[in-house]
């Protein structure tokens, strides 16, 4: 069974949006990204500067290729990259290093620590990417279908953004509660 073109386009738009945002975030603040990459402690130090531009470049390339619906490779590569990131986070969570910044381009400049949520998110996204890499059924879309595909893409991207923001909010709130408790214990004589 092959995947319908409209569904494939929605998934491709979502992934393209995610990769573009991640790349913009990395390019915007290369110094911070270098630190984040280093903090993962997976690459030899000598390779860090190379990967600093290699990863965002790969993200931009994948995002661009994603928008060509006849091309099955960008979703495959995207899935690979997402799983690679998930593995990097998983290894560091296994090492007990929950505090490092994930560097995945979340909202605002608030550091988003790594967590199993993010690993699960990446695996789920990789799953979607693999779906988009399936053989696609090409057919002519009516105007109505084009419109609903475009609107669905917008909706999916916005929902993704909202979930991302919710994860950051939760983390921020936890930090606030922790700080309050510290303040209360500290003010007791």
């Amino acid at each position: 069974m092959s995947l319908d073109i409209s569904l494939s386009l929605v998934i491709r738009c979502l992934l393209a949006g995610i990769f573009v945002r991640a790349a913009v975030h990395k390019i915007h603040n290369p110094g911070a990204f270098r630190g984040q990459l280093k903090a993962y402690r997976l690459l030899p130090d000598a390779l860090v500067p190379a990967f600093c531009w290699l990863l965002p470049a790969a993200e931009v390339a994948i995002a661009t290729g994603m928008l060509v619906p006849t091309w099955p490779y960008p979703p495959l590569l995207g899935a690979l990259l997402l799983l690679l990131y998930a593995a990097a986070m998983g290894i560091n969570l296994g090492r007990g290093r929950v505090e490092i910044d994930c560097g995945c381009g979340g909202p605002a400049d608030w550091p988003q620590g790594i967590s199993w949520h993010l690993v699960a998110r990446n695996v789920a996204l990789a799953g979607f990417a693999l779906v988009a890499a399936q053989p696609t059924l090409f057919r002519d879309l009516s105007m109505l279908e084009i419109a609903s595909t475009a609107l669905a893409s917008c909706a999916v991207l916005l929902v993704y953004g909202a979930i991302d923001q919710a994860l950051v909010n939760t983390r921020r709130h936890r930090r606030y509660v922790y700080l309050r408790e510290q303040a209360i214990t500290e003010s007791k004589p």
């Binding site: 109505l144 929902v159 923001q165």
Partner: protein, 199 residues
């Protein structure tokens, strides 16, 4: 267009509008979290208090140059960090940007301090300095300094004015905390606790 098509399109439009609203709400919650985040750094009751003179005036940096605190024309931001402290690393880039902003208003030197002046540990600090491209002339390794300020948790900061008086100090976890030290200096409110009591 048939009625079914129109309603289909209409529904999609409503879905997108709702998604925009959910997204905006989430952002708003994020902004609110930022606003309610404690405005001041957490001050400990032990050690020298705001208003007291600094217990240490001269420090030897890791490259053996001498740092003077309260030299008459520069304030000093003393930040206690450690290579093993994750929040400290997050704070390093924040410190640089806050220091840049504050330097425009008053002459300021930022001194990073840590303990562990023994062989193996010194190597970790050297690595830390290289990784984060820190200034070796403003990096102090001294257990005595931490003891003098009674630093219990990291990252801890103390703002000392040009005359050598401690103006504000406390546990700093975020940009807001760090900025609050400077604000405290200007407004005369020393800490989060003091702010809660009077505010």
């Amino acid at each position: 267009m048939s009625g079914l098509e129109i309603s289909h399109l209409l529904l999609w439009l409503v879905v997108v509008v709702l998604c925009v609203l959910v997204f905006a709400l989430m952002r708003q919650i994020g902004v609110l979290h930022e606003r309610v985040f404690p405005a001041g750094a957490l001050m400990t009751n032990r050690g020298p208090q705001a208003g007291d003179p600094t217990p240490v005036r001269q420090l030897a940096a890791i490259d053996n140059s001498i740092i003077t605190i309260g030299d008459g024309h520069r304030s000093t931001l003393l930040l206690f960090v450690a290579p093993a402290c994750p929040v400290c690393k997050e704070l390093l880039s924040v410190v640089q940007s806050v220091a840049r902003t504050e330097s425009a208003r008053q002459p300021l030197q930022v001194v990073l301090a840590s303990d562990g002046d023994t062989g193996a540990e010194t190597e970790r600090h050297q690595q830390f300095i290289r990784d984060y491209q820190l200034d070796r002339r403003r990096y102090v390794l001294s257990r005595q300094l931490g003891l003098a300020f009674v630093v219990e948790k990291l990252p801890f900061a103390a703002l000392i004015d040009a005359s050598g008086l401690i103006r504000a100090k406390g546990l700093v976890n975020s940009r807001e905390h760090l900025e609050s030290l400077f604000e405290a200096h200007e407004r005369g409110v020393a800490s989060l606790q003091e702010f809660l009591e009077h505010g």
